[in-house]
Symmetry: C2
Subunit: 798 residues, 2 copies
């Protein structure tokens, strides 16, 4: 069963059955303004922060799904019949009308055919402007002249989401609305500089700024009074709930198409008037849309591949990098899952997201890296959740709130947690994030940039990385294994004084990456020092972390083993195996045994489970993971994020068939036809898939959440297809299914293009016999080439 | 225009037009469990705390209004026609069906006539049980046998409201459901001790525990799939959204009535089974309902009056004390306005609410007083918002949350604000609250009870009062006027280092009340000390606070006058006048001039405006009040809470006609027929009425919010009708409209009953010529009488 398909030519996912039981979402906006929008045009906009820069309102987890949204209503003024260009909220019987939603890259397009009218609506945020454009076209396919009224509708939100959710004695009196010269101005009296607007390229026949006037008592977005009446009531008010509805009646001749452009933006009436004037010229709208298309066309051109696997091609050339880059730009807190209640960035996920997308958006990645370092303390650990604005002396801090601040709330200083509340892994991701950025861009000078710490002082980027490594080196137990603290990557493994094998392996991995930097810079003292730490870790791990058939996950504060065959539950953890291998720490034979155990015990058709068997009894020594239902999230679901780590580990072991089996098992593309099981959108990796211990086994939940897409992208492009930037050149080291004959990659790197063609006549998984660069045989790395050049690379596996 | 009427006999407000454009709400529950319910049966339940003890879900400020709720659907199984016993959510055309909602005291009853069926549903929480009973009766008024399916519906909520609102990656996986032996058990795996249940006295034919199975995709509570199908799908799940729907088909003979009792409760399946067994006996249900009726009958019997004014009688004998007592029990944070996002108690409002309701519920008031003192610091000030559980060493602290706590969130210790974040008035209300409790109950020993401070140490109640007075005495400026600090009673006047006349008058008032205690206890040293402070204040006020025609509201930190005729805006503030008089500080002639100015400039048909003229320009020296739209809330609305202070002041000045004019202007009863203006329910005082500078002038907003009902009650009963408990006896000192011939009061006080009859043959406003107690003329106070006695009191005014 499916709800849509991939339109490769247009890089769109096309939903042609709009009655999906969950939200299929997309992200509009690439700079300041963002809209999260569903296949039924439900969703919300914000500028800057979804917590305190909200523009439109959304009722998450609502009944019915995904209300309100950014809607266009059409009304046949002869018959009174009305509908929306998106299927919902009016929801015409799908037997009577055709609806399609096309989610493209940073735009979404809604099409409908009903009642002799074809209508479409394209939503996007043009580059350089804080405005969402609604490009609407209405075609009369009947044989008579038609009078069609068009109504826009958004519900404005108080800009601060907590007040908007629950304190109506302030929230409902803090904002006001007016409409002059065709511009609806939504204002906050207490905050004179903040306005939002809605306008259009037409002169409205009527308007409503007051939500409850537009909707009417005991009605909903499904049957608004204004649309039913064929006219808005020209309402506006100071205080109350506000909306943006502009109404215009169009007379449309048979065969004629009319076009209307609506604009939802940040800024006051003046800004609205300027914007209105600019985009009333439809060629400006067309050009702005073409810019968005070009934005992605040119960026995605930095990496394109043709492999024997259709799903891999579609996802790697478009959807996975789109997801990873979107997570870097908007983070997890802008979604339908976390709806702005938390703000800012998660340390570890942001760091990981940057790893995979520096080739797409190096400037954005660099900005995020600086923000991550500003959120690192001089002790070396990272602030688990943080708002970059709070560390940015040049930027705006949080906006004023429409209330007298409560005691304590006025404290906007950065909160530095105690050690027990620190996550043991956060800052270690920074090391890899910076290294990948350097290898991609060659921007070695970045290491000398001075960046402040969250608490006090500042240091160069290079020294920031050392602080992260030193923090982990300091917080080890007597056995040499890193302490788990509040949590490691797994938020629900809360060891406090206990020890984590995963963070120990991660520490080793980060040391290895750092040592490449130190070696490249000839910092011999650092090389020596951090190599020595790495070798101490290796010894400690060998002495303590092998359980006999696989690696342990760690120890509780009382010294009990976690992830041991001796236990009844939680015997085997995926991450302990994949990280032992991926970090380069494990000896080969143990690596093989550990990864085989993972395959045997954790894998099924949807991917690798996080642990086995699921916990059924609370055990606070291990952590919150034992308090989650079986098969859900951290308690033995098929968590997406760690699956690519296993792929990387298998590639390091040379087992390309298994690596690719893991890759395709979780590939959303291949679940497009089984939506009765998956449910979630098939163009986005989800946070997790329900595990075999749950009645909803196979159901995917939380699309767009960070970390997963980036690591799958890294695993597929750098380890399966095997082209990896290093400081000095491109490394080519594929690990593919044996039955692949060939594949090719176009890779732009440091300004030149590499057209890489890989042949596999001997049907091996790993091993490169020869590489020809522009016809010349080379050994080892492909050196950096003259910017602007096009280079032919012929690789022969065997 | 009206939506209902007062049914005096049943003490019910009857809504017979259910399409009210706002929520008319009621409160069920008197002990641990509470439900806030609307006239369309929308609303939510919680146990203990609306923030972290939530049971059912509610989408405040929603579209449509007030979803979801506690619903009973009926379905004609021959035709498939279905409806709800409350008008919404199905919302049958009101031309085709009759709907009535009766809000009674701690119960609400819904009635409908439709399709040959009369149905009613009574909701209440029986004393001694944490369960809401739904007593449903369905009568077949047609002439043929009918097959009617009944479905219950509630949507369960995650118990912690913040997660329920916005963190769906945790919230949607933390709870599960099952149904065994007719009991739906809603559980939190991470919190094994917390369950909620839904059950019924019947064996269900089918059930749904999963919300989205009951409702169906792209449907809503208006047209749930299960009801349309005539059967639930027996769904249950771990994770997801949960509901309580039990379905039963009844065959009903012509003229027959069937009865079904549904039960929504706190506790697990075992508790559900016990509850089910108990209330399956309908006589137990009847008895429990009778207990609720008796609860209020006996308590309200402590004060009943008959005056020439119908509105005063209805409100004073039933609705105003009901509102005041409800505010003491459930506080403001359980409402449709603040929906549990803030928890616990507001210091000043709780203190004030107790003032008016100790005759109704002395134990509850005593508990609140202790909680207020526990939230007082040893410095003397109160914590503006606090959760009593945090100061209660014996009680449960907040429940665990279904997430790993974020940095800093684990800190549940009491936060003591800095001086700049302290409200200057909070603790002063405590003095009056304790004094009124003592006068009502005679529980003088309470003064010797030892109570802890919020920060450290403990003291007797008597010493706590002194701390409050000392704090205000310490924080005065050089001119002897009290500092405003973060705010005084007016949250939006934020003077910080500036000074507040209101808090200065309040300090004087509290000193006067305390001195009565000290005198009664013969604590001469304290009497002397605090009398001296009072006289210093009087001098300072005389020297600094008179503006020439009225009293100033204070001074900004830079020394600018506030509330002066010299300004263009904010010339005159109500509270500065009423408190100058009510505190007893003002000289008589200034009192008259000040109160006349208030009458001239601030009064209109809906009551007294808070200030005049409204502010139009932000002035942060004055405070947030200048950042609110004109005519709304603190910026020159008709704020309810301060109106009774003006009534008390006028009574002290002997101007009974004006006092009563103020009283009736705001009396909700008299706005029952003008709901097109008032909108809000006419049985409850609202926080404010839109002022004359707003387009919605006259509209009342925020029913049930604390403070207002209590003070109106105090003003009417103690100052207009003029019977005031003192330490030694009842004082009789009415101040009534001159045209009143007579009125009578039944007052129970300290165990005996006083049947007080007041005659006013000379048509004066004030002045008592003679009092006869049981036939004997007395002078001065009516002494305490033997408990259990009935006493006749004849008062002659003149």
């Amino acid at each position: 069963m499916k709800y849509g398909y991939f339109d490769e030519k247009n890089r769109e996912y096309v939903i042609d059955r709009c009655d999906v039981p969950v939200s299929f979402t997309n992200y509009l906006g690439l700079e300041n303004m963002c809209t999260v929008i569903s296949h039924n045009s439900g969703g919300y906009s914000f500028k800057g922060s979804p917590e305190y820069g909200r523009i439109t309102r959304f009722r998450p987890n609502g009944v019915p799904l995904d209300r309100p949204g950014h809607y266009v209503y059409l009304r046949d003024d002869e018959t009174g019949k009305y509908w929306t260009v998106s299927w919902q909220p009016v929801g015409i019987d799908l037997k009577e009308a055709e609806y399609v939603c096309r989610h493209g890259l940073s735009y979404s397009k809604f099409e409908c055919k009903y009642n002799g009218i074809i209508a479409e609506k394209t939503l996007f945020v043009p580059l350089g402007h804080d405005v969402e454009l609604w490009d609407v076209k209405v075609t009369n396919t009947s044989d008579r002249k038609r009078a069609i009224s068009l109504f826009s509708y958004v519900e404005f939100s108080l800009h601060q989401i907590d007040l908007d959710n629950k304190d109506f004695q302030m929230g409902l009196y803090a904002s006001g609305s007016s409409c002059t010269e065709g511009v609806i101005d939504y204002t906050f009296f207490y905050h004179p500089d903040m306005h939002h607007f809605m306008t259009a390229d037409f002169e409205p026949d009527s308007y409503d700024c007051v939500r409850d006037e537009f909707i009417g008592n005991y009605r909903s977005e499904s049957n608004p009074a204004a649309v039913e009446n064929g006219r808005c009531s020209n309402s506006s008010k100071l205080g109350g709930n506000h909306c943006g509805s502009l109404h215009k009646q169009f007379e449309i001749e048979p065969g004629q198409t009319i076009r209307a452009v609506l604009m939802l933006g940040a800024g006051g009436a003046e800004q609205g008037k300027k914007t209105r004037k600019m985009f009333a010229d439809h060629s400006v709208v067309d050009k702005a849309f073409e810019q968005i298309k070009n934005y992605w066309r040119s960026r995605l051109a930095n990496y394109q591949c043709i492999t024997p696997d259709e799903g891999a091609n579609v996802m790697l050339n478009t959807w996975t990098p789109y997801q990873a880059a979107t997570c870097v730009t908007w983070s997890r807190f802008a979604s339908f899952i976390e709806v702005g209640g938390r703000t800012g960035l998660g340390y570890r996920d942001t760091a990981q997201d940057t790893i995979s997308s520096s080739y797409l958006q190096p400037d954005k990645v660099k900005q995020r890296l600086v923000e991550l370092m500003r959120a690192q303390t001089s002790e070396g650990f990272g602030l688990h959740l943080f708002d970059p604005a709070m560390m940015d002396e040049s930027g705006d801090a949080k906006a004023n709130l429409p209330t007298v601040l409560l005691s304590g709330d006025s404290d906007q200083s950065v909160h530095i947690p105690e050690l027990k509340d620190v996550c043991s892994d956060d800052a270690l991701w920074l090391v890899a994030a910076v290294c990948e950025y350097l290898k991609e861009t060659g921007d070695i000078d970045f290491l000398e940039t001075e960046v402040t710490f969250a608490d006090e002082g500042s240091a160069t980027v290079y020294e920031h990385l050392k602080k992260a490594l030193d923090f982990s080196a300091k917080h080890v137990a007597d056995n040499g294994i890193c302490q788990g603290l509040r949590a490691d990557w797994n938020d629900c493994i809360n060891l406090r004084g206990g020890q984590s094998s995963m963070v120990t392996f991660m520490h080793y991995w980060a040391l290895r990456l750092f040592n490449e930097v130190a070696a490249y810079l000839n910092r011999d003292d650092d090389s020596e020092r951090y190599s020595e730490i790495a070798s101490r870790i290796k010894q400690a791990a060998a002495a303590n972390l092998w359980d006999g058939q696989w690696y342990l996950r760690g120890f509780t504060a009382e010294g009990r083993k976690i992830g041991t065959d001796e236990d009844e539950e939680g015997k085997l953890f995926l991450n302990a195996q994949s990280w032992a291998v991926m970090s380069g720490l494990s000896e080969h034979d143990k690596a093989i045994r550990a990864m085989d155990a993972a395959y045997d015990k954790l894998f099924d058709r949807y991917g690798l489970h996080l642990l086995w068997p699921a916990y059924s009894k609370p055990d606070d020594g291990v952590g919150f993971v034992t308090r989650v239902y079986k098969g859900i999230k951290e308690n033995a679901s098929i968590f997406s994020h760690p699956n690519p780590w296993a792929i990387i580990a298998e590639c390091m072991l040379g087992r390309g068939d298994r690596a690719f089996e893991y890759y395709t098992a979780m590939l959303p593309f291949y679940q497009n036809d089984m939506m009765e099981i998956r449910q979630a959108e098939p163009y986005s990796y989800c946070q997790f898939v329900m595990g075999k211990d749950h009645t909803d086994h196979g159901r995917a939940r939380h699309p767009w959440l960070t970390g997963s897409a980036g690591w799958f992208y890294t695993a597929a492009t750098k380890w399966i297809l095997g082209v990896r930037p290093t400081f000095k050149g491109l490394e080519v080291d594929p690990c593919v299914p044996k039955d692949w004959d060939e594949f090719s990659i176009v890779r732009k790197w440091r300004g030149s293009t590499f057209n890489i063609s890989v042949k596999n006549p001997d049907h091996v998984s790993k091993g490169v016999k020869s590489i020809k660069l522009n016809g010349q045989e080379i050994t080892g790395l492909i050196p950096v080439q003259q910017p602007g050049t096009d280079n032919d690379v012929q690789v022969l596996m065997g």
